[in-house]
């Protein structure tokens, strides 16, 4: 690829995710009771906040090939997917703050971040729950003859041990659906290392056993992810049926923002930090002749955008109490007891 254009675009995509999550992380301290922490209640961003710090190359590299009419299903760790799919950063921050101006009107928060208008069908609080929903969306795309739109389904390495993973992959292959499965293999499942809990070679091997071609990629090399995803997305758009991208990355932060991950070997983290996708991309781009100033400008712009978003979210109104009674269901609305 020519790094000077899309290269900087990928860089920008990653930097925005990082900036957004750094700010959210700060705003979330004391926001939830778990992992030995007691919620203070004063936090701006409350409830479990799952950060994708260090994994930004995967959504950035994959979503660069998507359009708004393509669908995306996400996980509990969905900020990167949502931003990369094109959602407005400020409205995302408003949702994390629980404000009326958030994408969900404050009803969902981080674990349910979504922007249906750009095809982002939502983060999910239930591990692996996005997989069957994704194949259903892809099934609809096929039946409705939606041009060559596709569905991209992100999930973690721990999710492959839940039954719906098998049911969804089998489904996608049986009906030959336009879905790209993307396993974000960050080596951890909450406080448990995924390796010892997983039989065999993981997502790729299981996909292959269901006749779904799988490709592994260095998930911390945004250019590699971008290049590999280009081919897979093209195949899926072309009617190949499902494909799986197995991206090897690492969860730099704790499972949630209040998790200090003391259970982890510091050496493991240190090694992973060596391969930080943003630092690596920056190195690539500099080597490819992109000026440091241009990259600094991208980072400053991202920080400014996030600061503005924080101010917007801070100033935004809370939902009306009555909003708790809207969008429950149409039939029987008003009968709450």
């Amino acid at each position: 690829m020519d790094p000077s254009n899309s290269g900087t675009a990928l860089y920008r995509a990653m930097v925005r995710i990082r900036a957004f999550e750094n700010a959210a992380e700060t705003a979330s301290q004391g926001g939830v009771s778990a992992y030995g922490q007691q919620a203070a209640g004063a936090a701006k961003v409350r409830g479990p906040l799952h950060l994708s710090t260090g994994q930004e190359a995967v959504p950035a590299g994959v979503c660069a090939h998507l359009r708004a009419s393509d669908y995306l299903t996400s996980t509990h760790r969905g900020h990167g997917h949502t931003l990369a799919k094109g959602a407005d950063l400020a409205r995302m921050m408003c949702e994390l703050f629980g404000k009326a101006t958030g994408f969900n009107g404050g009803k969902g928060g981080s674990m349910h971040i979504a922007d249906f208008s750009v095809g982002m069908l939502g983060a999910n609080g239930v591990v692996a729950a996005g997989l069957p929903i994704a194949v259903g969306a892809a099934h609809a795309q096929k039946l409705l003859g939606k041009g060559n739109d596709i569905t991209v389904c992100f999930f973690g390495d721990g999710a492959i041990n839940r039954g719906p993973f098998l049911e969804a992959l089998n489904w996608a292959r049986v009906y030959g659906l336009p879905v790209l499965f993307v396993c974000e293999d960050n080596r951890w499942s909450a406080t448990t290392a995924s390796g010892p809990m997983t039989a065999g070679e993981g997502a790729s091997a299981r996909a292959a056993s269901m006749d779904i071609a799988a490709t592994q990629v260095d998930g911390n090399d945004v250019f590699a992810v971008h290049e590999t995803a280009a081919r897979l997305v093209a195949e899926v758009r072309g009617g190949s049926g499902p494909r799986l991208l197995h991206a090897l990355t690492y969860r730099v932060k704790g499972h949630v923002s209040v998790d200090l991950a003391a259970y982890r070997d510091p050496a493991e983290l240190a090694a992973a930090l060596e391969t930080d996708p943003i630092a690596r991309a920056r190195g690539h781009l500099l080597a490819a002749g992109v000026g440091a100033a241009a990259l600094d400008a991208i980072e400053n712009a991202a920080r400014d955008e996030v600061d503005t978003a924080l101010a917007i979210a801070e100033a935004a109104p809370w939902p009306e109490p009555g909003a708790a009674y809207t969008d429950v269901q149409t039939t029987g609305a008003g009968q709450w007891h």
Partner: protein, 320 residues
């Protein structure tokens, strides 16, 4: 008006035919639907509409329900077949955490217009894992509509209404009503949330639904012979349930008996009885199955059945 004599299952097939003809977004997915479903409730539909709209599925209840959610979000109106409510337990996260909550959780960005058919009740001699009545579970869950028809006419009308309503609907036909025949008027629309008064009377309000309506009717005959006129109400929709009709009747009779096939403990009868006691302050009684699994042998299965004698006895007790 077009009158037909149809079975409970034929009425459902007719409803699906009408909806599928009228709306290309309506599709069916589930195990064995291509052969008409094991109860004939999809008979001829794959032949008529093709295997892309009447989709044979693998044995994957979680994916069937979950894919239904994704299809609905993407613009289809899936009829999701669970075979029996007992197997719907294999897709509970997909129904409860996904289908029921999607619209609210995402702030109204999406809709999940989906009808999940999961026949309930005792299926003769099929024992504990094929005989459950779980309607109370679904009534407890915000986001879901719960329907339980007792006649061919209602199965025709309510299935059409369920497909039209745009909400996720748990549609509970009864495993042993499929052969029940009756007159079906294609032009009658049966609204969701409206009960049907089957008999008029002032002595007692008797509320039930699904197959249990037959035992209640028989009990009413016995009571009528004793000069006891019962106000018999078929709830038809369990959520939203027709409080107005039921409470108005309770106000008139001062006595309410709720009867259902489900285990009495924490069954939906508790909700109706408690509501009546709270609102109308009337005397209430419930009659449901004992809190035991359904056994295989006829004599054991009979212990879980609520028959006309028991119903009449409960009515007399409430009156005495």
């Amino acid at each position: 008006m077009a009158l037909k004599d149809l079975s409970y299952s034929e009425a459902a097939v007719l409803a699906l035919q009408r909806e599928m003809q009228a709306d290309p977004r309506v599709i069916v997915l589930g195990e064995d639907v291509g052969r008409g479903g094991i109860f004939g409730q999809y008979k001829g539909l794959q032949q008529a509409f093709g295997d892309e709209r009447v989709i044979d599925a693998p044995i994957s209840e979680a994916a069937i329900m979950g894919a239904g959610v994704g299809m609905a979000l993407a613009g289809l109106r899936p009829v999701v077949e669970m075979r029996v409510v007992d197997f719907a337990l294999c897709g509970m996260d997909e129904l409860v955490n996904q289908a029921a909550k999607n619209r609210f959780m995402f702030g109204g960005q999406g809709r999940v217009p989906l009808v999940a058919r999961m026949p309930g009740g005792i299926w003769d001699a099929s024992a504990a894992q094929h005989s459950q009545s779980l309607e109370a579970w679904f009534a407890h869950l915000p986001g879901l509509v719960v329907v339980s028809p007792s006649t061919p006419q209602d199965n025709y009308g309510l299935l059409r209404a369920a497909l039209a309503c745009g909400d996720p609907v748990v549609y509970i036909e009864h495993k042993t009503l499929w052969g029940l025949r009756g007159e079906v008027d294609e032009d009658i629309a049966v609204p969701l949330g409206k009960a049907r008064r089957v008999r008029e009377g002032n002595a007692l309000t008797l509320v039930s639904w699904s197959r249990q309506m037959q035992a209640c009717a028989a009990a009413c005959d016995a009571l009528a012979a004793e000069g006891i006129a019962v106000d018999l109400i078929d709830l038809r929709t369990l959520w939203p349930w027709d409080r107005e009709t039921v409470l108005a009747s309770c106000a008139r009779t001062g006595r309410l008996l709720v009867v259902h096939e489900a285990v009495q403990v924490a069954g939906f009868g508790a909700e109706i009885a408690a509501s009546a006691a709270e609102a109308a302050g009337c005397r209430v009684a419930r009659l449901g199955a004992p809190r035991i699994p359904v056994g295989y042998a006829p004599v054991l299965e009979a212990q879980s059945r609520v028959g006309p004698e028991a119903i009449a006895a409960a009515a007399r007790k409430l009156l005495g």
